[in-house]
């Protein structure tokens, strides 16, 4: 089994008296898609923000590519990217300008070719000169995803990447992610409230509740463990118990 590309040990985040993330440990292997599941407020987004170096953990360690995030932030973030439904890109810039800025931030070369490639992948090659504020919410999500894969990351954090998409585009996005994963060995940490999507996309799933890991394993292992028929039933059971 290959060594983990991401290792989280005893990660805890407190905001005053409130515990957002409570002593969680997990890892991701190269090429693996790990689903992070849990009700609102379970600590999924805070976990991703800590993995991106945007929030400092109270205790615990985060290692990626064998390096400690606190000590090697720049080297690690160079090989990581993210997409979130809740974050936008500057509205007054065109799609092309936004992607150019991101590419420069990551020190990429041959930027024009790479922008062409990713716009083709997210089916936005005809919109490249469109100002971002004129995009529909679905196009905005696709732009966020284009930004995330533009830099050819080794690890991708996706916070509800298909939340605002219609089923057709959401299906295309999932197909794209599978293709990128297959071609580049990309590792992904994925959050979603769409249980079918989770089952389809994830190799393993971590179920968070009140900041703690309450279950982990494949979708099948988790549903069997809780005696339910599918992930949605597990989700409802756990959410209602809490």
């Amino acid at each position: 089994m290959p060594a983990p590309i991401l290792e989280v040990k005893s990660l805890t985040k407190r905001f005053g008296d409130a515990i957002a993330v409570d002593d969680i440990s997990f890892d991701i292997r190269p090429g693996e898609i790990l689903g992070l599941l849990g009700p609102n407020g379970a600590g999924k987004t805070t976990t991703i923000q800590m993995l991106l170096g945007l929030v400092t953990p109270t205790t615990g360690s985060i290692r990626m590519f064998g390096l400690d995030l606190a000590a090697h932030r720049e080297q690690i973030l160079q090989q990581v990217n993210f997409s979130s439904t809740y974050i936008s890109m500057p509205y007054s810039l065109t799609i092309e300008e936004n992607l150019w800025v991101v590419a420069k931030l990551y020190g990429m070369t041959d930027i024009a070719r790479r922008i062409d490639e990713v716009l083709k992948k997210v089916e936005m090659e005809d919109s490249r000169t469109k100002v971002t504020r004129r995009l529909s919410s679905g196009q905005m999500t696709r732009l966020a995803l284009a930004k995330a894969i533009l830099t050819e990351p080794k690890i991708l954090f996706l916070d509800e990447p298909t939340a605002s998409l219609d089923p057709d585009i959401a299906h295309k996005i999932r197909a794209l992610l599978k293709e990128v994963r297959k071609s580049s060995g990309l590792s992904v940490l994925y959050t979603s409230h769409n249980m079918k999507e989770m089952e389809e996309m994830s190799d393993r799933i971590i179920f968070l509740q009140k900041g703690k890991i309450v279950a982990q394993g494949t979708a099948q292992e988790i549903t069997q463990r809780f005696g339910q028929r599918n992930l949605e039933e597990v989700f409802l059971k756990l959410a209602r118990e809490s």
Partner: protein, 263 residues
């Protein structure tokens, strides 16, 4: 510090200004209005030329230099606010961009703004009031450079406060600099201040710069002592403010404020 990341951020703002007329107008609108109002006051005061020698040079020069400081401060603070308004801070700080690179980019943008405003104001002063700011001479150059640095110091201070206290503190982007104006002695000599306020003013690099400018105008002697004080104080405050910005950045990351700063 990586130049390509500074370049990326500078271009992100240049792209923005390229297609935003309101933003471009904002850069020039206030300086232009200031110049018109103060220009006419100066024209009026010229009637008392005998009692107040060099009044035109004095007021219009001071006004243009004050705007240099103001725009230098705004170049930093407004650039940060633009990232908040665009909800783009997470995109930036989840990338390899360092806080020091972010500051460096805003300083470059600040120089662009100062240069643009200075050219417009100097041209307007020449056209409307037949006033040439460059008649102060080459001694103006080190003072202008120091004013830009003073503007950066106030800009970094304001940005740190906005980052810490959120968007509700954004009004400081326009107001903070005026807190320093009375003790910068822009339009009057430092001796008109009460003694206790003079002591505070001497700790302000801008006061040394404006005092120095007046000395150049009145005596044609290069005020090297004022310049040395301005440089020394600027270096001290600049180091303190950059350190303070980094400290605030870390506090914001610990308290989860960086990801919520626009809310």
């Amino acid at each position: 510090m990586k130049l390509h990341r500074i370049n990326a951020l500078v271009h992100r703002h240049l792209f923005l200004y390229r297609r935003s007329l309101p933003r471009l107008m904002e850069i020039f609108y206030w300086p232009f209005l200031d110049l018109v109002v103060w220009g006419f006051i100066t024209v009026y005061l010229m009637k008392f030329q005998g009692q107040l020698p060099g009044v035109v040079t004095f007021f219009l020069g001071a006004l243009i230099l004050w705007d240099v400081l103001f725009r230098a401060q705004q170049g930093i603070t407004i650039s940060f606010l633009e990232e908040i308004w665009a909800r783009n801070l997470m995109n930036l700080f989840a990338s390899p961009l360092k806080p020091s690179e972010f500051l460096a980019a805003t300083m470059v943008l600040s120089i662009f703004k100062v240069a643009a405003v200075s050219v417009v104001m100097a041209t307007c002063a020449l056209v409307f009031y037949d006033y040439n700011v460059f008649m102060i001479g080459l001694s103006l150059v080190p003072f202008v450079l120091n004013l830009v640095i003073t503007g950066w110091i106030i800009g970094v201070l304001t940005t740190s406060i906005i980052m810490r206290f959120g968007q509700e503190a954004e009004v400081l982007a326009w107001g903070m600099v005026f807190l320093f104006q009375p003790v910068s002695c822009v339009f009057y000599p430092i001796e008109v201040l009460p003694k206790w306020l003079q002591a505070i003013a001497w700790g302000n690099p801008a006061a040394h710069i404006f005092e120095g400018m007046r000395m150049v105008l009145n005596t044609s002697v290069f005020p090297s002592e004022h310049l040395a004080w301005a440089v020394g104080l600027n270096l001290l405050y600049f180091a303190l403010m950059v350190g303070w910005f980094h400290h605030t950045f870390n506090v914001c990351k610990e308290q989860g404020l960086l990801v919520r700063v626009g809310e």
